[in-house]
């Protein structure tokens, strides 16, 4: 699972008002090279919750991202490279996602998060 997906996911349990960001529990992560596309990054940037991305990247040991970011930084190639790496190339392989409100654990196996809810959570 990429951090892009993590940044979009929120907890879906009934009654949870603030299910974002899901906390990452990292057991194993991998880096896979992905084609670089500056347009995609510029397009997706306004939708990214920056703080969540920075925290998630740090929990995988990638601390290159600046604490704050705004759209003017998108002109810098250096920034785009880091953004690209954090967003698309870091994959959570084994671990879990944890709901910030209820503490519910969604396990991640082979890079696939299991977001199925129990019947009483729907």
């Amino acid at each position: 699972m990429r951090l892009l997906t993590h940044n979009m996911l929120s907890c879906n349990i009934k009654g949870v008002t603030n299910g974002f960001p899901l906390r990452l529990e990292v057991e194993k992560f991998v880096e896979k090279e992905v084609d670089f596309s500056a347009e995609f990054l510029r397009n997706i940037f306004p939708k990214i919750e920056w703080k969540a991305l920075v925290d998630a990247a740090r929990s995988m040991g990638y601390a290159e991202l600046p604490d704050e970011a705004d759209s003017s930084m998108l002109d810098s190639d250096d920034f785009l490279k880091k953004f690209h790496h954090a967003l698309l190339e870091l994959h959570l392989e084994e671990g879990a996602l944890i709901c910030p409100e209820t503490g519910r654990r969604f396990p991640v196996n082979k890079g696939i998060p299991n977001m199925l809810l129990h019947e009483d959570e729907v």
């Binding site: 699972m1 997906t5 979009m8 929120s10 995609f40 939708k47 698309l88 696939i112 809810l117």
Partner: protein, 290 residues
Amino acid sequence: MSSRPELQAPPEIFYDDAEARKYTSSSRIIEIQSKLSERALELLALPDDGVPRLLLDIGCGSGLSGETLSENGHRWIGLDISQSMLNIALEREVEGDLMLSDMGQGLGFRPGVIDGAISISAVQWLCNADKSSHNPRLRLKAFFGSLYRCLARGARAVLQVYPENLAQRELILGFAMRAGFAGGVVVDYPHSSKSRKEYLVLTCGPPSLSTALPSGKGEDGETCSDDDSGDEDNQTVCISDRHRPRKKLKTTKKVKGREWVIKKKEQMRRKGNMVPPDTKYTARKRKARF
């Protein structure tokens, strides 16, 4: 036995390891799936500026439809309820991100982040109640409600469906409209029983010019050019199997009436057999409680 997969088992059970493997190793299914997803992507009508978008593939299965999205340069997140299908997708090293998730429980995405959604042959599964806790109406409502929330304003969702009958189509479309979507059904090749395909084209946000429904292919009798020569059965994902065979009308056995009974009794009497006398009860049906 019915051969619509929806009627056989819940999706996470129907698409087990064997079925998932079969599904993805059939070149026929691969071809149809990629055709369907190409058409879905066309109907999605993303702005033609070459910018890769973030799309959702609902019911991505083994990632056949996602491959089309990747080929067109888009990033995608796929979700499916069948672990076996997702395992095959992993094996095939698809480019999108995968997620094990039940669309009937709602999609857990932040509001307004997705640029478009496609779904190939998946949404009709929502009309089934596979567990006692399932209510198709609530599940459809949760699905369309959450889909509407996670799509960006003006984004589209194209859902290719195989509704079982008219009522099911109405049900699905009704819930989509209630969630706030504008749009309707586009039918490709409406005159062909085999190549007929239905797409729900839904637009998020207030109705505008861009929400005008595109027209289906082959509506004016134009046939699907390259497909006609081939074997008709090869056109679709088991469309012939997806129609439930008509229930046979109960053949009412000819009930033999009172006259016939009296005639027979008379014959027996003439033969000298012991026969009960004819009364008003002769040849009457027994009461149900008997």
